[in-house]
Amino acid sequence: MNDRENLLLKPARAVGIVGYGVYIPQYRLPASEILRIWAGDEGGAPVKEKAVPGLDEDTITISIEAARNALARAGIDAQKLRAVWVGSESHPYVVKPSSTVVAEAIGASEHIQAADLEFACKAGTEAVVAAMALVGSKMGDYALAIGADTAQGKPGDALEFTAAAGGAAFVIGPAENALATIAASYSYVTDTPDFWRRQHQVYPEHGQRFTGEPAYFKHVTAAAQTMLSQLGTTAADYAFAVFHQPNTKFPQRVARELGFSKEQIETGLLSPVIGNTYAGASLVGLTAVLDIAKPGDRILVVSYGSGAGSDAFDMRVTDLIEERRNKAPLTQQYIERRIEIDYATYARYRGKIVMK
């Protein structure tokens, strides 16, 4: 790769996050419950607990609440949106868009772009890149990008500890109305078979340890390093960094290798208490950072989606953050809204009990 080659995506018109919103379901399944059922209470777990959707929740309902929160912070009429894009690997329909339901529920115009995106855990950040392009090219002033999931984990599989539910929504708009500007994005993708779910299959398959080195670490590292080298920045320039968080250890290790401290990543590292919200994961982490960030703070966000690829973003918080952050519930408020459930309730809520 030639360092002097311009690999960053920089919009012609400066853009940023005008409003952000999050949603995390209230139910929590402690990892100890999975160990109790499947491991005789023995062994360790990759997270403390994970967020579980209720019987009436799915990617569409999660997206709607996150979107309403984002619009409340943005302070704009939903009619001003020029696009509604929902990234997820658990769209309730295989065929029929989630995005049109979300658009109708929030009162968006009918004269918009709407589509569902799928790229494992980076579908949400891909929606953000698309929104940056639409606003940055002046084809529209505002676009809504959402990453949300109700992830599936095979009973007894390692992924069952982490496959969680939640999502985040972002109103992307002109930089002058942004609570955080986005200077650039950069994406790195290759064909890497670390995790997939075939048509008609209920649960995904994964490549065990292959999901680490050649998958998560290679792509997150490449995206972050390229972003930093092309911008001429170092880890020390950022107040916060958020990395995709399929568990607790991966983001901690990649952060350390890239030169980020524990303090820089701890605010946005939510997987220990909510699990991996897949397309929501890095974006939900970002909402927790925006909840406490100060004007001038620089934020690096790097997602990862299996299959595989990473999107990196360089953001800077503006003065508008102070007046907007309390116009919707904070991420920590959703995390504290917690009802612990046992494995049997989890099995019922996630449709794992055969009824006919």
């Binding site: 209230q26 209720g54 019987l55 009436d56 929740e57 799915d58 569409i60 309902t61 709607i64 609440e65 309730p92 329909y93 029929k96 339901v101 109708e104 529920a105 929030i106 009162g107 309390n326 519930p329 904070l330 408020q333 959703y334 809204r337 009802i339």
Partner: protein, 134 residues
């Protein structure tokens, strides 16, 4: 299969859109095009805030066909801040005690599926105890 009926009710169910009477300003839900207060024609769309309080409630254990998966659940008469009283399920109640007067807010949730697992998904309003804001 009741696709046209569900489709017609979408705006009302997904976004809590009713009507406002241009003559006496009464807020109307669901939309009925005639004001129940003054009898005048009322066709102006009005989006409700979704805030209200529990007017009365009951918990159902024996539920209508199509809602079995969610049983037991609580149904409430919710008095919206704008005036109308509407019937809706409560959700995310958990261990919290529901009382007459409990402040609630509208959320959009999956209500049921039309027929079996091949049918369309029906989304609509439910109400939950108001989320604490900082």
């Amino acid at each position: 299969m009741e696709i046209p009926r569900h489709w017609r009710l979408q705006k009302q169910r997904l976004a809590l859109v009713g009507e406002v009477c241009p003559h006496c300003q009464a807020k109307i839900f669901p939309a009925r095009d005639v004001c129940p207060e003054c009898g005048g024609e009322a066709k102006t769309a009005f989006k409700f805030s979704g805030k209200g309080e529990v007017y009365s409630f009951t918990t159902l254990h024996s539920v209508p066909a199509g809602f079995e998966e969610n049983a037991p659940y609580t149904v409430a008469l919710v008095k919206l801040d704008e005036g109308p009283i509407i019937t809706a399920q409560l959700t995310d109640v958990g261990e919290r005690e529901v009382k007459i007067g409990t402040p609630v807010e509208m959320v959009t949730r999956r209500i049921r599926q039309d027929g079996d697992e091949r049918g369309m998904l029906i989304y609509g309003y439910k109400f939950r105890p108001v989320l604490r804001m900082s």
